[in-house]
């Protein structure tokens, strides 16, 4: 019996080791994708925050925590990722509040409410794989899985990425065991390019088919509200300023959210069309022709929203705390330096 057990056990160990090694190579390192690792930076910070921003690209490219601290003494973090759905935002917020239970205000960008199901498997995986293992992550996976996905493939990513063997490059190998570098500024992803809105572009948004936002996303919005209430945090809904027919925020949806906010005693700020108040100039404040804000636009929106958070929601000024000031000074310096240098996006 012994002569069979030892070889069997060793073969299994060898098989597992080989699979782990190959898996490490095959999992996309996303080293060339600036949006590849936006969530993981949070696990490395230990300070507390008064405000948490959750949402998708509009929030992680629109809100600058460094500016919020510099101007208002507000401690904040952006927990957003590409195409982050509302159920992903919910579970990301769940793990955030578990770690950071004294948060005063949670700001959620409502664009993702338009998705009733996970729009893109690969992008959804980018979010999920960037989360640390926890009960929240497991639930986020369950909520996000597309029809043909297997739950097991999140534990054994080789089942998902095995067919990448034929497209591996030397760069993939080089990045296999490299730790992901946090390129965000407290969750904010800086964009310094300027690609103005084309005034000659007369395209109209696609005709709205579903005038009502999906029930599933509204259900998760309600859960998010309950979660905030559980931690004594106030939920604030926002719609980031944009100027593009792509990812258009329709009036019908806006009205539905406004009604929902009123019915649930929530605050809802829609910044679309508030260019004058915000001081936005779509010829300089966007890096992709009005779809997202660049750093110049983001600073303007951040200042405006920061002012609202202080005035209407009583967020405290934490400046004067030596430890915090020192910590944020370092962050502000890094932010300022990168802004001055400009971001290499290509």
């Amino acid at each position: 019996m012994k002569k069979r057990i030892i070889p069997a056990v060793l073969s299994v160990v060898l098989l597992l080791a080989a699979l782990m090694l190959v898996q490490a190579v095959l999992i996309p390192s996303r080293y060339d994708n600036r949006e590849g690792h936006l969530l993981c930076g949070y696990y490395g910070v230990s300070d507390k925050h008064d405000v948490i921003f959750v949402g998708d690209c509009e929030i992680y490219e629109g809100i600058v925590p460094a500016v919020l601290y510099e101007k208002f003494g507000m401690t904040s973090y952006v927990r957003g990722s590409s195409q982050q759905t509302v159920w992903q935002s919910y579970h990301v917020l769940e793990e955030t509040l578990a770690k950071d239970p004294d948060v005063k205000v949670v700001v959620f960008n409502v664009l993702a409410l338009k998705y009733g199901k996970t729009p893109t498997e690969s992008i959804s995986r980018m979010t999920l794989e960037d989360m640390q293992w926890s009960a929240s992550k497991l639930q986020a996976i369950r909520a996000s899985m597309t029809e043909d996905e297997s739950f097991l493939s999140y534990f054994m990513p080789i089942l998902r990425y095995h067919d990448r063997w034929s497209e591996l490059t030397a760069a993939d190998l080089a990045h296999t065991f490299r730790k992901h570098e946090d390129i965000t500024h407290q969750g904010y992803l800086m964009q310094t390019d300027i690609v103005p809105v084309d005034p000659a572009d007369t395209r109209k948004p696609d005709m709205l088919i579903n005038t009502v936002l999906p029930a599933r996303s509204m259900e998760y919005l309600a859960k998010m509200q309950d979660l905030c209430a559980q931690y004594g945090a106030e939920l604030v809904l926002v719609k980031a300023p944009t100027n593009s027919v792509k990812y258009y925020w329709y009036e019908e949806w806006d009205a539905q959210i406004a009604d929902y906010a009123a019915a649930n005693n929530l605050t809802y700020y829609n910044f679309i069309g508030m260019d004058a108040e915000l001081g936005l100039d779509w010829s300089t404040d966007t890096y992709d022709a009005g779809l997202h804000l660049n750093v110049y636009g983001a600073e303007k929106w951040t200042l405006y929203l920061g002012n609202l958070l202080v005035t209407n929601h009583g967020v405290q000024d934490r400046r004067g705390d030596a430890a915090l000031d020192a910590l944020w000074a370092e962050r502000i310096a890094r932010y300022t330096q990168e802004k001055q240098q400009g971001v290499q996006t290509k």
Binding site: L19, E149, I158, R160
Partner: protein, 523 residues
């Protein structure tokens, strides 16, 4: 539940553990419950069909068995009666049994024909809103296989070649044993029946041999067959001719071999883990030196079924005997001897073709196979002369290889009718080999426009070599049994196969690994 799925592997592991943990006398109950659970995943309609086949075949077998016992008792009690009277009684009893078995066959055959061919026009579906009638083609998993198993058993009982299983649950297990439900093999009660009900002690060897056979089945299916499938699909969809037709013959042969033998390896491996030896369905078919030999090595249980239950019974019918006599008298001995055999062979092949599907391509496929077999049979005296005159040449390795290649090419050409599902188009593409001179495409990158990359072709090539190597090493006895005797090599081989399947297998998002050719189209 699909064989090529993680769910199936989990199910099999749990079932195997339970099978060896329960008291041995209850093992068959575990198999029955496992089969019920496995088939329940296919849906209510599938379960209803399987249950109907089990009930009808059980009733037929039980009634025949009762009549046979009564007949035997009567004969025993009336030994003093004249021989003619006893014979007359026996014949009467046999006729009664024939009526029963025919009724059973008609009912099961009607269910099979309805499910496969008629339901597309007059079908039904059941959902939350109730029963709906209309053109709902039914997809009844494995109906051909278990119906054939049941019909074969009824006929064996009628011929008194198999014992009557009086226990309904045991009968249900024989007809519905889960591994063979999807793609066969078509087993006979005399081969496997009692194995289900006899106790099986835990055997590390069975477990290892079964597991590595399953892993190897996955290798054939996922690393080779499914990897080359896009090239087959692309050549057919783009209607490429010339050299691509020849490539299609080759690729489709590789695909169907990997898919079908891989699937059967999973089936037989699963049964082996439970200590049950189902009949082999393949015996290195691509090593055959003649068409007749090929058909003795390819889809063996189907061939045996058609031979046992169509060819032989048809050969001995009164009308066929009359025809034989008439043709010998009117057409001479040479033709008279052959004519009934020809007719029976043609009818048997026609049934074989129609079993694959009601379509002209299957009919032509069957008739071409039949033609090649009959012509080979007629030319046999010439071959014999050749063998006698040139024994050394005939026994030489190059000539033996020539025969293997010739048989492979012939079968590959006929098999390609499956791909186009259109007889004129298939022949048009065949003739394009002589009219479209695009051999340059093999070297100018045209090969890599078929949806299979260079690296994938390389893996497929290595996979084919591995399949060939394993079949050569298992000529005298299965390689897995040899590996079991060498614990280090055996364990390592298992780990390597699993590793290759997980890394190079065609599965996951965007692939449909669950679909088997013989578990789908030809079920």
């Amino acid at each position: 539940m699909n064989f090529a799925s993680f769910e199936f592997l989990c199910f099999l592991c749990l079932l195997t553990a339970l099978y060896y943990l329960v008291p041995k006398r209850a093992q068959w109950v575990v198999l029955l419950l496992g089969s019920v659970v496995f088939y329940a995943f296919a849906g209510v309609t599938c379960c209803v069909f399987l249950l109907a086949v089990i009930v009808v075949s059980y009733l037929a077998v039980a009634i025949m068995g009762k009549r046979q016992r009564a007949c035997a008792a009567w004969l025993d009690a009336n030994k003093e009666l004249p021989k003619e009277q006893r014979k007359a009684y026996k014949n009467k009893n046999k006729k009664g049994n024939l009526a029963i078995v025919c009724t059973g066959i008609v009912i099961l055959g009607a269910a099979l024909v309805y499910a496969k061919f008629v339901s597309g026009y007059f079908g039904f579906k059941v959902d939350a809103n109730g029963l709906h009638l209309g053109k709902y083609a039914l997809e009844i998993m494995g109906i051909s296989y278990y119906t054939f198993i049941a019909i074969g058993y009824m006929l064996d009982v009628y011929r008194e070649k198999a014992p009557v299983q009086k226990n309904f649950a045991k009968h249900a297990l024989f007809v519905g044993f889960f591994p063979q439900l999807v793609m066969g093999p078509i087993s006979k009660y005399s081969d496997v029946g009692e194995q289900y009900f006899t106790p099986h002690a835990f055997s590390g060897k069975n477990l290892y041999c079964g597991a590595i056979r399953i892993a190897w089945g996955f290798f054939k299916k996922l690393v080779v067959a499914d990897a080359i499938a896009p090239a087959v699909g692309a050549i057919v969809a783009q209607q490429k001719g010339g050299v691509f037709f020849l490539l299609l013959c080759l690729f489709y042969s590789v695909r169907i071999y990997g898919d079908f033998t891989g699937g059967i390896d999973i089936v037989l491996g699963a049964a082996e883990m439970l200590g049950i030896r189902l009949p082999e369905n393949f015996n290195r078919p691509f090593s055959s030196k003649s068409t007749a030999e090929y058909w003795r090595r390819w889809h063996i249980t189907m061939g045996a079924w058609f031979t046992n239950y169509i060819f032989y019974p048809l050969s001995v019918t009164k009308s066929m005997q009359k025809l034989s006599k008439w043709s010998r008298a009117h057409l001479g001995t040479a033709i008279g001897k052959r004519l009934p055999v020809y007719i029976t062979t043609i009818v048997t092949w026609l049934f074989t073709g129609l079993w694959h599907g009601i379509a002209w391509n299957f009919v032509v496929w069957a008739m071409l196979n039949c033609l090649v077999l009959l012509v080979s049979q007629e030319l046999e005296p010439l071959y014999a002369k050749f063998r006698t005159k040139f024994p050394k040449l005939h026994a030489s390795a190059p000539y033996q290889t020539f025969m293997i290649v010739r048989t492979f090419c012939l079968m590959a050409l006929i098999r390609v009718l499956d791909c186009y599902m259109n007889v004129p188009l298939t022949f048009q593409k065949l003739f394009s080999v002589f009219t479209e001179f695009n051999w340059g495409s093999l070297f100018d990158g045209g090969l890599f426009t078929l949806g299979v990359s260079k690296t994938s072709f390389a893996v497929i090539g290595v996979g084919i070599l591995a399949m060939w190597g394993v079949s050569q090493l298992g000529k005298d006895r299965p390689l897995r049994e040899k590996l079991w005797e060498k614990p280090w090599l055996g364990s390592l081989a298992f780990a390597v196969v699993v590793f290759l399947v997980l890394v190079f297998g065609t599965y996951g998002l965007g692939y449909d690994a669950s679909a088997f050719i013989y578990g789908g189209t030809f079920n």
